[in-house]
Each structure stands twice: as C-alpha cells, then as structure tokens.
Amino acid sequence: MARRVNLLGAAVFVLALVLWELLVRTSVLDFTYLPAPTAVGEGLGELLANGELLGALGHTLFAALSGWALAGLVGVAAGSVLGLVRPVWTYSMASLEALRALPIVAFVPVAVLLFGFSVQTEIMVAFYAALWPIMLNTISGMRTEPRMLESGAVLRLSKAAVLWKIRLPGATAMIVVGLRLGLSVSLVLTLVAEMVGNPAGLGFLLVEKGQALQPGQMFAAVFVIGVTGIVLNGLVMGAARLAFRGQMASSGEAA
C-alpha cells in the first residue's frame, strides 16, 4: 500500500495558515487576543527556550500515561473476567453501564475533593477516564468465534492455553482500539485536572499563559498538545503492530 503524499491537502493547510496570518495582520479578524500564526511560532520558540514547555509536557505525559497504563492493566483484567464469566457479567454489567452514564468530567471535582491538588488527582482522573473504553472493548473482544474454541477443545488445549492462545489473541485488535481511545481521553482529562486541580503540566501552562495574556504561547501549547496526541496514538499503533503482528494484520490493520 503506497502512501501518496497529499500535496493538495498540505497546500490547503498552508493556505489556511497564510490566510489566517493576513486576516489578523489586516485586522479583518479583530479579536484582541487572537495571535497570527507567526506569533504562535514565536510563542513556541519562547516556551522551548525557557524550558517551560518540556517540563510541563513531561509532567502531563507522566500523569496521563501512568493513569492510562494502570487502566490498561485493570481494564483488560476486569474486561476479561466480565467477558468470560457469564454470571459476573449478568450481575454487574448494568451497574457499570449506570456508572458509565456519569459524564467523566463531572468526576474531576470529586477527584480534586478526594485527592487534593496533587498529581494523584491527575493520575486517578486519567485512570478512570481510560478505564471505560479499555474495559468495554475487552468485554466485546472476548466474544470469541465458537468454532475457534471448539478447535482448541478437539486439540485438547488446557483452559489456560485456550485463554492465552485463542481468547486473548482473538481480543487483541479490540483491546488495542480500547487502548487508543483510552489514551486520548486520559490525555484530555489529565489536562482538565491540571486546569482545575493540580497546578502543573500543560493544562496549567495554558491557564497560566491565558492569565498572563500571552496568546502566542498559549496557541503554541495547544499545538503541542495536538501533536502529542497524534504522536502517542501513532506510538501505540506502532507498538501494537510490532508486538501483535498477526492479530493486527488479520484485523485489517496491516503493518
């Protein structure tokens, strides 16, 4: 599958930036605090030069990834149990669905209440946010093709082997989808927790720069956050393709 470079698309993107620059310069777009793209570039330079950006990025990544990794462990384990043990599913799925209806952001104030203005708050929020997509995707991934399980039975695989060699690999593609969704929501919720809870990281940087009336640096931070999301998603996909070549290839996510 040869990937053609989308020149047209890139041109439109650049054109949009140029247009934005012109509109701001000529004051057609007249907002007091709307920076032009060049000002955003300068802001990025300043943030990089004084080291604020990398420090904040590191903090946010640490919190989001810790929560996400924890959610990965708990979500896959709990999802497996729920997907495999019928009575557990019957006697808890409705509770989980009720809990899931609670908008996740509404938990941020609760987490701040419980864990204070600390990095634990961020990690807990990231964990809770990522837990849902990971767990629910694991549950549906565990619906294995019955014929595959029968194949395992006639070849006399042990229960552990059926779980390890048939069920889990069969669920891998779904679990990876859950992990990717989980990663992006845990990043978002970590930012929220930093804005209203723990004053640190990129979320707080945004708020701080807003109060200091530094729109250029602010937009630069938003840009960095967007790129971080894209890079993280790419890393997860790449790692999954490396580690689970067959599973990803067979589910159409060809390497």
Binding site: R147, M148, R156
Partner: protein, 261 residues
Amino acid sequence: MTPTISCDDLAVTLPGASGPVHILRGVTLAVEKAEFVSILGTSGSGKTTLLRVLGGLLPASGGTVRCDDTAISGPPEGVVTVFQDYAHSLLPWRTVRRNVALGIEARLPKSERDERVDEALTMVGLLDRAEEYPWRLSGGMQQRVQIARALATRPRVLLMDEPFGALDAMTKASLQDQLQQVQELTGTTIVFVTHDVEEAVYLSDRLVVLNGSPADIGLSLEIPLPRPRHQITTKERPDYLELRHRVYEALGHTVGEPARG
C-alpha cells in the same frame, strides 16, 4: 477387534424455536480401527450433530458413546474433528505453520514439533506456504491447513465434517487421493461426513445413510472395492456403479424419475 469409536442407541435432542427438537434417535454405529466410514444424508439430516457427539463436542441426550471402551465426555485423546467451516476454525493471527503447531506445541520440544509440522504440511502439499497467514490462502488451501493441523497431532481417529464440501471437482479429487494416501501411511481411523454419494462410495470401506426425522441409520453398506483406488478406473468398475446405485436408492431417488434436489 474392538471398535475404536462407537455409539449405541444414541439419541440427541436440541432446543428449537418451538420446544425441543429430536434430531437423532436410536443411532448405533461402531467404527473399527483403521476403517474409513462415511456418513451420508441430505442437508439438515443430522450428520454434523452425529459427528459432534462422536467428537465429544456435544453431549448425547440418550444412549452411550464410547471411545476405546471408555464413555466420552469431552473430546477424547487422539480424536480430532475437522470442521465444515474452515474459515472460522483457523486462528487468523497465526501463520499456517503456527496454526498447524497449535495442538502439539505444548507437548513436544521445538525440534520435534517443527519436524511434525513439516511432515503434516508436506502431506497436504502446503509446505511452501508455511509462513503465510491462512486468510491469504484460498478456501481449499485453508481446509488443507485444518487437515494438517489435525494430522500433526498424529490422531488415531479423524472425524471430518464435509471437508471437501465447498471445493471444485478437481481440487476435491486431488484432496480425496491425498486423504487416501495419508490413511494408508498412518492407519488412521476416519469418520467422514459428506452429502456427495460418489465421494462416499469412492473413499469408504463402509458407508451409512442417515435419514428420517428424527434420523437414524437407514442403510449400512460395505464397500469391498479393492485399494488403492483410482479416480478413473475405480469409478468405471461395474461393482462401483452398482454400489452407487444402491446408495442413491437409499437416499430416495428412483430410476426413471428425474433427480430431486
């Protein structure tokens, strides 16, 4: 000689949309060691059901099922089923080689395992596709992978559910001959479900016809054709034609009338 796998007065009842449905009743069948027995019947007559019971995948509702004089509960050691739908019974994330190794990888050291896999793949003529993923193979090739996976475990009994059902005539013929060779080489007992009369007569030492509802064995017929058999010469023999005639009759066709579906 004691039968390898057998059932006595077997009954199977399964839940249907409107109450339980009796699918098999009073089925008695004993398969000898190294025998090739075909089970024939129209679609929906219960062939797959019977095979699943013999393979320990479905409990009987009545009667007894035995493998070497022990009652069956779950798939017995050395009895491997080859399923009708090959597409869903192979693991799509494993290469052909690793699919074939699935049943033996926990029991054998690596060198012996590789040897067995190569041997099984050679038997079905797929050694050169060993590193491919099964979903990149044709349907017939996938079915051969499933057969190789069974052969790699060196089964005593092979239960095959319409293994060549979805294949074209030429591939089918060549796989039939491969299967004959494999059986000659390994002495495996084979129970072979099919709805193809020619195939059943050509391959079997004995064939049974399932009919009725609930189904039981309507005809049990020895096929004393000499071995090795040959696609052209065997099928031209008068005794082959005579046997074929009798099976068609048992399935409800009569001479002089056009065939019914």
